[in-house]
């Protein structure tokens, strides 16, 4: 079983990397980009039966820094 964890900066937390990407997109001539926020995705290959609770625990204890980051878990049931 696979799961994906999406880690994003909390709203309101300044994202210098997102800003730089935004500027670069504008520099390439892409108009209409209002804002860019960068995050990361971590793919986990898990033993069958791993609970949502276990994955959340992994996020809180290591994968995300909940002072500045939010996380979202997506299970890939057939992977």
């Amino acid at each position: 079983m696979k799961a994906r964890v999406f880690i994003t900066l909390k709203p309101g937390v300044l994202d210098p990397q997102g800003k730089a990407i935004h500027h670069a997109l504008e520099g390439l001539g892409f108009a209409g980009v209002n804002d860019v926020r960068a995050g990361k995705m971590i793919e986990l290959d898990l033993a069958d039966g791993t609970s949502d609770c276990d994955i959340e625990d992994m996020c809180r204890k290591l994968l995300a820094n909940t002072v500045i980051e939010n996380f979202r878990i997506e299970r890939l049931e057939n992977a």
């Binding site: 937390v13 300044l14 210098p16 990397q17 204890k61 290591l62 820094n65 002072v67 500045i68």
Partner: protein
């Protein structure tokens, strides 16, 4: 003073810190490997050095904060043993939950490596008693992730409780309220991005960092 310096894979200021401690205290610190689970018996002071522990994987300091030795460091800090985290060490201490807030990528994205002017905001702590309140000093910085951020309530509490130890006097990395170093609520844990251990001898181009270790020695001895 019996001190210990923690060494992670990727630490690169561990020997600088050990040299500064030996210079000031007259005693070589014990170097403690990250996989160890215990600190030397009777240790009076713990230094978490700068560098790029675990290659800054995941987030700066994130992996080091979960290494076996950090459980012992956390227990010691909770017992009141003074702990300093410098640069990557500061990142490790925030990731370990020993200090509030987080250190994010510098606001202008560039690695900053230069001496910076600082103001000593609190001269009553274990680490800053050899400075005068409001004194202006200079320590070098060398970091990519030194942008200190916390929510407003935390920042207000740090300010109100005199836990901002050092503040930048010019724009360095985008840190909230120009915070360069903070204390925990008990006052025995200090985290700061600038490097006091790099300015302890005249040949370093400055000696402002020396008094941090001298003040600590006096407080602990």
């Amino acid at each position: 003073m019996k001190s210990a310096v923690i060494v992670f894979p990727g630490s690169n200021c561990d020997r600088d810190l050990a040299t500064a401690l030996e210079l000031v205290t007259g005693r070589k610190p014990e170097m403690v490997w990250h996989r160890d689970s215990e600190l030397p018996e009777g240790v009076d002071f713990i230094g978490v050095p700068g560098g790029f522990s675990y290659g800054d994987y995941l987030r700066s300091g994130a992996m080091a904060a979960r290494s076996p030795i950090m459980r012992a460091v956390t227990d010691a800090a909770n017992r009141g043993v003074p702990v300093i985290g410098i640069c990557n060490g500061f990142q490790v201490l925030t990731e370990a939950g020993l200090l509030p807030g987080a250190l994010m990528r510098n606001a202008r994205l560039s690695f900053v490596c230069r001496p910076v002017p600082l103001r000593v905001e609190n001269s009553q702590s274990l680490f800053t008693s050899a400075y005068n309140a409001g004194e202006e000093i200079a320590f070098p910085v060398a970091h990519h992730d030194g942008n200190y951020q916390a929510d407003d309530a935390t920042l207000d509490r740090l300010e109100g409780e005199g836990r901002v130890a050092f503040r930048y006097l010019d724009e360095v990395n985008g840190s909230a309220r120009s915070i360069a170093g903070i204390l925990n609520d008990a006052g025995n844990v200090l985290g700061l991005m600038p490097h006091p251990e790099r300015v302890v001898e005249p040949a370093h181009g400055g000696t402002d960092g020396r008094r941090l270790f001298e003040g600590l020695l006096e407080a602990v001895a």
